[in-house]
Amino acid sequence: MVPEALFFSAVLFVIGVIGVLTRRNAIIIFMCVELMLNAVNLSFIGFSRLYGAGGQVFVIFVMSVAAAEAAVGLAIIIAIFRHHESVDLKNINLLKG
């Protein structure tokens, strides 16, 4: 059961990476990052079947960090939308030389 969970976790993580690399919509990229966090959580739960409940504690930490990240990130996205009237990452090139 644990190897299968790790397999599903790897596939979900890679899907998230491909999403981050191919999309331009900032909110979709954000959701892909959430998907990657979920994939890592699945690994943690799988390993908690092997090593005890420490993995589950880390999943709870990851979830609270993801909640904080979602709050701050979406506030940033709203600020960007006010400025550019879009959430397309093509417009966010202030740091580009």
């Binding site: 059961m1 299968e4 191919t22 919509n25 589950q56």
Partner: protein
């Protein structure tokens, strides 16, 4: 009970649904549809957690991820009125897509090599009537007490940061 045929079948089924919904999620144009497919993935992950004896984390997954975080995402999508398909292409060009596919395949191969390592034996299944939250709270409030307190500070900082960012006038 744990390793019966039905159990294995359901485990594979939920894992497969999670992967397929994630694949549909990254290919949707409409952000609302994408978010709902991601919610589907999260529900299936919660089912997998419960099957792997992490019932508390499974419940938290549904409540926090599907119930709170994704609702915030949907709220922002609808607030900014992004539900309509965008006028410019959302997907990047062909070069970026091929690069992403190659990077994904390389990463998948790497992770598969890691997954095929020899794993130690799984822990014994707890009896059904055992309190499932006791092992978690035991390490959360003893071993990981300091990280737990730091997490509360992190959440406070995130709230303040979000309010400051949202209130700022151009």
């Amino acid at each position: 009970m744990p390793n019966g045929f039905v159990f294995e079948f359901l485990f594979y089924l939920f894992g497969l649904i999670a992967v397929v919904s994630a694949a549909i999620f990254v290919t949707r144009r409409n952000p609302v549809a994408a978010a709902l497919w991601l919610v589907n993935t999260m529900f299936c992950l919660a089912a997998l957690y419960i099957m792997m004896d992490a019932q508390f984390v499974g419940a938290i997954q549904v409540l926090v991820y599907a119930g709170a975080i994704m609702v915030v995402f949907l709220f922002v999508v609808m607030l900014l009125n992004l539900g309509l398909p965008p006028s410019v292409a959302d997907l990047k060009g062909k070069g970026a897509r091929i690069f992403a596919l190659l990077a994904g395949l390389i990463m998948l191969a790497e992770v598969m090599v890691l997954v095929r390592q020899k794993l130690p034996a799984e822990l014994a299944w707890l009896p059904r009537e055992t309190n499932v939250t006791t092992p978690i709270t035991d390490s959360l409030f003893r071993t990981y007490l300091l990280p737990f307190e730091i997490t509360s500070v992190l959440l406070l900082v995130a709230i303040v940061g979000a309010v400051v960012l949202a209130k700022r006038r151009g």
